[in-house]
C-alpha cells in the first residue's frame, strides 16, 4: 500500500496534475475569500460564507485529482502489474485514496494562509476570525473532501476515459447536492429521512456554525467506506468477466 501511495504522490508532482490542482484551487478560493471577507462592505472577519464557497471549490477540483487514478492504469494496462502483485485490491485502492487525501490536506493547509491577514486588516470589535470555527470548518472540509475523493476513485475505476471520469464524478457529487435541495419540497417523512441521509451537505452546515457533530463524522467516514468498498468490488467482479 505504501509503495502505491508513494508512487501516486510522486506522480502528482511529476505529471503536474498536483500543481494544477493546488494552483487553480488556491486561486479560486483566494478570490472567494477576498470577496466574502476583506473586500466585503463593510469588511468582515466572518468566514462562514468563505467556507461554504470552499466546498464548491472541492466539488470541482478534487475530481481533477481522482480522474486519473484508475482510468489511466486501465488505459495503459499498468493495472495488470498492480493486480498481479502481492498486494490486495483493498490495499491498492487505499493507496490511491490516501494519496488524494494528502493532496486535499495540503490544499487546506495552504488555504489557511488566507486567514492570517484577517487578524490584522479587519478592524472589528470582536477582533479577527474565530480559531475554533476555522478549525471546525477545516475538519468538515477534510471529511466532505474525503467522500468526494472516494466517489471520484470509484468513478475512475469504471472508465478508461479521464474526461468521462471527471464529468461523471462532478455530476454524481452534484446529485448528492441536489438531493438536499429537493428535500424541502417533500412532505413524506420517511423519504425525507432517506434523502437527508444521502445528502452530503446537510451535515456539513452544522460544522460551518462551529458545531462538532459526531454523527456527521461517522457519516462521512462510512460514505467514504462504501465507495472504497464499491471500488474494490469493481476490480473483484472484473476478474469474472
Amino acid at each position: 500500500m505504501l509503495a502505491i501511495f508513494k508512487r501516486e504522490m510522486r506522480a502528482y508532482f511529476t505529471t503536474s496534475i498536483g500543481y494544477i490542482f493546488l494552483a487553480s484551487a488556491l486561486v479560486i478560493s483566494a478570490v472567494i475569500f477576498s470577496v466574502t471577507t476583506v473586500l466585503d462592505s463593510p469588511p468582515t472577519a466572518d468566514t462562514s460564507l468563505y467556507f461554504s464557497g470552499l466546498i464548491f471549490v472541492l466539488m470541482i477540483f478534487l475530481p481533477i485529482l481522482t480522474m486519473k487514478s484508475f482510468s489511466e492504469e486501465k488505459k495503459t494496462k499498468t493495472e495488470q502489474l498492480l493486480l498481479t502483485s502481492p498486494v490486495s485490491t483493498t490495499q491498492m485502492v487505499l493507496g490511491k485514496f490516501f494519496s488524494s487525501f494528502v493532496m486535499l490536506a495540503i490544499f487546506l493547509a495552504l488555504s489557511l494562509i488566507f486567514i492570517i491577514p484577517l487578524t490584522f486588516f479587519v478592524p472589528e470589535e470582536n477582533s479577527g476570525p474565530n480559531g475554533a470555527l476555522v478549525m471546525g470548518n477545516i475538519i468538515a472540509l477534510l471529511l466532505v473532501g474525503m467522500s468526494f475523493i472516494a466517489i471520484g476513485i470509484f468513478v475512475s475505476s469504471l472508465t478508461e476515459n479521464q474526461f468521462a471520469a471527471i464529468v461523471i464524478t462532478i455530476v454524481t457529487i452534484l446529485l448528492f447536492f441536489v438531493i438536499s435541495l429537493f428535500n424541502s419540497f417533500i412532505s413524506v417523512y420517511a423519504i425525507r429521512v432517506v434523502l437527508d441521509w444521502l445528502s452530503i451537505f446537510s451535515r456539513y452546515t452544522a460544522f460551518t456554525y462551529g458545531v462538532f457533530d459526531i454523527s456527521a463524522l461517522f457519516y462521512y467516514i462510512s460514505l467514504t467506506g462504501v465507495f472504497i468498498f464499491l471500488t474494490v468490488r469493481v476490480f473483484e467482479s472484473r476478474k469474472y468477466n
Binding site: 494496462k77 499498468t78 502481492p86
Partner: protein
C-alpha cells in the same frame, strides 16, 4: 511445481479455455504455442491471478491461486502482453517502485543493479521510460518481472513487435533466465519455441493439442522437409524429372513464373539431403537452378500433422 487441473474459462457462451490440465516442473522452460485467440493469454492471466476461472484449479508451489492469491503472486513474475510501464518514471524509479510493491527483502540498491545489469538496462537507468525504444521497454518489462527473484517467470508474447535483432537478444535473455528460474512463455511463432523451450504445450481453441518435449516436436514436424526451388526449363518436364528423384515425396508448382523460370515446392525425406541430387539431375539436363530455399514448418503444418497423428493413434 505449477499444476493446472481441468481449467475452464468462459466468456459468456464462448469457451476461451476449455478443460485444460498440465503441470510444469521446476527449472523447465515451457512454451505455450498457439494461434492468436487460442487461449494462451487467458490461461496466463488466470495463473497470475489477474482473471478468475470458471472452474478448475491452479496451484503454484503447493498454493492455490483462488484460495491463497498472495501466496501464489509472491512466487510469480509476470510480463503481460503489453508491458505495464509507468512512462513518466525513470527506469530506476520504476523498478524501485516494483521492488516496494512486491515487498522484497534484499539489499535494494544491489538487487536492482543486478536486475538491471542482467537485462542490460543499467545504462539507461536514469532515463524516462517514455523516451526508450520498444526493445528497451520490453527489457524493462522483463526486469520488472524478475525483481524479487520469483521462482516462476511468465512472459506473454515477449517478442511481439520487436525487430529481428531485438528478438534474438530477448530470446537469449529468456534462455539465460531459464537457468535459474522456471519460465513459461507464450508465442504464436513455432521457431521461437524451438529456439528457447525445453517443452512445448500447443493450444488451439482453448484445448491442448500437444504437450511434448521440443525435440519430440521437431521429430513430428521434421518428418518431411519442405523446400522451394526455382528452375529455368520446360515446366512439365522439370516437374516429371523432380518427381522421379530419390528422396522426393511430393512436388507442386506454386504457379509463380518469371520468364521461363518456374518455382516448385518440394517435400522430401529428412534422412536424405536431396539438394545435391536435385542439382546434379538438373545440371545433366542443362536446366539452370535459379534458386533454392528451405521453407520453415509453420504452425498450421504442425496442427495438421498433430491432428492427423492423433487421429491415427485413435484409429489403432
Amino acid at each position: 511445481m505449477l499444476e493446472i487441473t481441468n481449467l475452464v474459462k468462459n466468456y459468456g457462451t464462448k469457451n476461451a479455455v476449455d478443460d485444460i490440465s498440465f503441470s510444469i516442473k521446476k527449472g523447465e522452460i515451457v512454451g505455450f504455442l498457439g494461434p492468436n485467440g487460442a487461449g494462451k493469454s487467458t490461461t496466463m492471466n488466470i495463473i497470475t491471478g489477474y482473471l478468475s476461472a470458471t472452474s478448475g484449479t491452479v496451484t503454484v508451489g503447493g498454493k492455490d491461486i483462488f484460495k491463497d492469491p498472495m501466496g501464489v503472486k509472491k512466487q510469480i513474475g509476470f510480463l503481460p502482453e503489453q508491458p505495464p510501464l509507468y512512462v513518466d518514471m525513470t527506469v530506476n524509479e520504476y523498478l524501485s517502485f516494483v521492488y516496494d510493491l512486491k515487498s522484497c527483502r534484499f539489499n535494494k540498491k544491489e538487487h536492482l543493479k543486478e536486475v538491471m545489469e542482467k537485462v542490460k538496462v543499467y545504462d539507461v537507468r536514469n532515463r524516462l521510460i517514455r523516451n526508450l525504444s520498444k526493445g528497451y521497454r520490453q527489457r524493462v518489462g522483463i526486469a520488472q518481472a524478475i525483481v524479487g527473484n520469483p521462482d516462476f517467470i511468465i512472459f506473454d508474447e515477449p517478442t511481439v513487435g520487436l525487430d529481428p535483432v531485438q528478438i534474438i537478444e530477448i530470446r537469449n535473455l529468456i534462455r539465460s533466465l531459464g537457468k535459474s528460474h522456471t519460465v513459461i512463455l507464450s508465442t504464436h511463432i513455432l521457431s521461437e519455441v524451438q529456439a528457447i523451450c525445453d517443452r512445448v504445450i500447443i493450444i488451439n481453441e482453448g484445448k491442448i493439442v500437444a504437450n511434448e518435449k521440443t525435440t519430440d516436436l521437431n521429430r513430428t514436424v521434421g518428418q518431411s522437409a519442405k523446400m522451394k526451388i526455382k528452375v529455368a526449363g520446360p515446366n512439365k518436364e522439370v516437374l516429371n524429372l523432380l518427381k522421379g528423384l530419390q528422396g522426393i515425396l511430393s512436388v507442386t508448382t506454386d504457379g509463380i513464373r518469371e520468364g521461363d523460370t518456374y518455382s516448385y515446392v518440394l517435400e522430401s525425406t529428412p534422412s536424405i539431403d536431396v539438394r545435391k541430387i536435385i542439382f546434379n539431375a538438373l545440371a545433366a539436363r542443362s536446366w539452370p537452378l535459379m534458386g533454392m530455399e528451405n521453407l520453415e514448418a509453420e504452425l498450421e503444418d504442425v496442427f495438421v500433422k498433430l491432428i492427423k497423428s492423433e487421429n491415427e493413434k485413435g484409429g489403432k
